[in-house]
Structure formats: C-alpha cells, structure tokens
C-alpha cells in the first residue's frame, strides 16, 4: 500500500516539476517595459541644451508629450529621426528630447544636419537622471499625457508602425 502511495507521490512530483518547467518556457525573461505603462513619471530635472543653466523638468509636461532619448553617436537615432520630424510637422504633440551621454557640439551638429523636431532639449551627461525613466539604451521614446502618466514606451528606433501608433494615441 505504502509502495503504491510512494509511486503516486513520485509521479505527482514529476508532473508538478514538468508543469513548472512548461510554464516557465512561456515566460519571457528579457526586460519588458510593460511595468512602466500607467505609472506616473518621477520628478526629473535635466540641464537644457545651451540653456544657460536653465533646467528642463517634469513641470514642462502639461499636455500629451513625446519624450525621446537620443544621442548624435547613436546610429538607430538617425534612422528614427525622420519620424520625429514627421510628427513635428503633422501633429501638435509636444516633443521633448533628452540628449543622452553626448558631446554638446556633436548634438548641435546632429540637429543642424537632420533638423530639430524638439520643442525642448535636456542634457543627461552621465545617464543617471534617465534611470528614472528605466532607460537602458537609446533610442527610447515615451508618450506621456498631461497628468504625466506613461501611455506607451518604445524601445529602439521608431518605425512607420510606431509612428502610426503614436498618431492613434495622440488622436484618442
């Protein structure tokens, strides 16, 4: 009798472990930003690009705003730049750019070469302040509403599909 119970227990344990492994296979262990969606952004302060010690802060977000983290050394930022320009031309969304770990002269040259889609530009020389946004590489882009709630986060360069998504969110 106890032998039978032991066998059933072993079998149950085997299937239990199998189920856990099977469920774990479905989990994506990589970093996903879904946790940030719906959260209010933390108070932040960046020095403005050529702003004579003026600061860019959370108080500058008073309507639906796109916050884009970029740098002149970042090749994918060049690829997405045309979509930011298009957004600037076709919508009235406020666009804030955060120049990430960059040389300010190079950043200026980048904007002269590819045009400036940003209403305001902040500078993060060491990347510390950007951690408040959960940044782990650039480019990354957020859509934040007037109440400073994160509506969407895009990791990597924006593409045509993302552009359309942004338009849909703005027009909601």
């Amino acid at each position: 009798m106890s032998k039978k119970i032991g066998k059933y227990l072993l079998l149950a344990l085997f299937f239990f472990i199998l189920t856990i492994f099977f469920l774990a296979l479905k989990n994506d262990p990589r970093y996903i930003s879904n946790d940030l969606i719906g959260k209010k952004i933390q108070n932040f302060k960046f020095k403005k690009l050529n702003g004579n010690n003026e600061n860019l802060s959370h108080n500058d977000i008073n309507k639906t705003t796109l916050i884009n983290f970029w740098a002149s050394w970042c090749y994918p930022c060049r690829l997405e730049h045309k979509y930011l320009i298009k957004l600037k031309q076709n919508t009235n969304v406020k666009i804030i750019g955060i120049n990430y770990k960059d040389d300010q002269e190079n950043a200026q040259s980048f904007l002269q070469e590819f045009l400036n889609p940003y209403d305001l530009i902040g500078v993060d020389n060491d990347g510390v302040e950007s951690v408040k946004f959960g940044i782990f590489g650039i480019p990354e882009t957020f859509i934040v509403n007037g109440d400073k709630i994160i509506l969407k986060k895009f990791i990597g360069p924006l593409n045509q599909k993302n552009y359309q998504e942004i338009i849909n969110i703005i027009n909601k």
Binding site: Y31, D126, V128
Partner: protein, 122 residues
C-alpha cells in the same frame, strides 16, 4: 603636542578608511545582485557596459543620499522590473520558490524515515 597631533591624524585617517571600505562593500554587494540588462548573464559588478556604468553611478548616488539596500532595489525594480535583481524579492507569486525546497526536503526525509522504519520492523 606634535605627538598628539599625529595620533589624532592617524585615528582620523583610519576611521575614514574603514568608512570608505564599508561603503565599497555595500556597493559591491548591491552591484553583484543587479543584473546587467544588456549583457549575457553578467551582473553589473562583472560588466563594464554603458548600462552597468550608469547603474553603478545611480547606486553610489543613492547610497550617498542615505538610501538603504532595500530602498535601492525597490527603486530599480520600480524602473526595470524584478528581472533586474538576481535575488528575487519575496512575494505571493514566488512563495513556492522559497518554501518548496524545504517542503520537498521534509517530505523526502519523512519518506526515507518511514521506509527505514518499515525495513527495521521487518
């Protein structure tokens, strides 16, 4: 007078060194428990990537502001999710992970105990 000054200087420098070591021990402990999100299986302590360098600065900054180890983990988990911490935080969704090994050990121990007891009786 000179002697007293040197003794004072020695103890001041010594206590500063101890404080600095304590600080770096805590930093090291935290760095080792934070996953480098852009690396393959490396902690922030093992990595020299841009991400790790930034996180190291953030941790130093937070320690400087007097935040505790748990508060620093909470801050990073809030921004990057629980994946960033190697040592998982205790929660209702992972309590099995914490207690299952003990449970299995207990059940296994009882199982062996009863088998041996039965053998002895026979």
């Amino acid at each position: 007078m000179k002697k007293i000054f040197f003794i004072y200087l020695f103890f001041s420098l010594n206590s500063l060194t101890v404080q600095a070591n304590e600080m770096s021990d805590l930093e090291q402990k935290i760095f080792k428990n934070i996953r480098c999100l852009v690396c393959q299986g490396q902690s922030v302590a093992d990595s020299n990537s841009e991400f790790s360098q930034t996180i190291k600065l953030v941790v130093k900054d937070q320690i400087g502001k007097g935040r505790s180890e748990t508060e620093i983990y909470d801050f990073l988990v809030d921004k990057y999710g629980e994946w960033i911490i190697y040592d998982p935080l205790f929660s209702t969704s992972n309590f099995l992970l914490w207690f299952l090994p003990y449970f299995i050990l207990l059940v296994g121990g009882l199982f062996i105990f009863f088998i041996l007891k039965k053998k002895n009786n026979n």
